[in-house]
Amino acid sequence: MVPLADYLVLSAVVFALGLYAVLTRRNGVAILMGIELMLNAANINLVAFNKYAAPGAVQGQIFALIVITLAACEAAVGLALVLAAYRSLETIHVDEINVMRW
């Protein structure tokens, strides 16, 4: 059996990749992609723990399913926002959206 730690390490690296995308990318859609990666990393953790640490019930998988659902909702709304912003501001680069900045 692959030890639990390996799954957790994988999850940590994916999470870091997603974090890098969120912190560094200029394109709004790219940021949303980063967020999706982070959520997936969390899901890996949940399911891994379910199998290794609490295999009696499927609670971890339930949690993961709910996370997937909510991620879908959030992606939908976020992308709608990006579209709306593009319509009025002609850009989706977050560092150029400064209408409310000083």
Binding site: A21, E36, L37, K51, A76, D95
Partner: protein
């Protein structure tokens, strides 16, 4: 080396490589397309972990719906022009260092902890168990999630609507 181990490392490699493409490609469409192998790799991981139902949902929702949605939006906004613009903002190096640091800390944390083993085994047929759970113990979460779905559906439509 067991078969499981080989599968795990192969899948991990796929996920990591495509993840790298996602976060660093200057072409936004390449980024979006690279998401698909990443998600499929994660699906493989779920199957390895005995969560078949979750794996299926992952393919449907993530690799299917969300990726398509992302591509649509890219097409509708300037990303579809394929222009190679500067995709990294000014806090690139610092952001990279922070991400690396977080990863290092997390890995250090998990490798130095002894995780306990719980009792019992996963059910062989997980969809059944999940269904029982959703309509049993986790009913509230199920219903709540449904409402969130509904609301976000309506919200997204309203936000993305063309102004008359």
């Amino acid at each position: 080396m067991t078969g499981e181990a080989i599968a795990f490392y192969a899948l991990a490699a796929v996920i990591l490589v495509s993840g790298l493409v996602v976060v660093s490609s200057p072409n936004i469409v390449h980024s979006a397309v690279a998401l698909v192998p990443a998600f499929l790799g994660i699906t493989g991981i779920y199957i390895l972990l005995g969560a078949e139902f979750v794996a299926g949902i992952q393919v449907l929702i993530y690799a299917g719906a969300i990726t398509v949605l992302l591509l649509f939006v890219i097409m509708l906004t300037e990303g579809g022009t394929g222009l190679r613009l500067q995709q990294r903002n000014e806090q690139g190096p610092v952001g990279a260092s922070v991400a690396v640091a977080i990863a290092v800390l997390l890995i250090a944390g998990v490798t130095h902890t002894t995780w306990g083993r719980g009792a019992g085994t996963l059910p062989a047929y997980t969809p059944g168990a999940i269904g029982q759970s959703f309509l049993g113990t986790n009913l509230l979460a199920f219903e709540g999630t449904s409402i969130v779905l509904l609301v976000s559906l309506i919200g997204a439509v309203i936000i993305a609507r063309k102004e008359e």
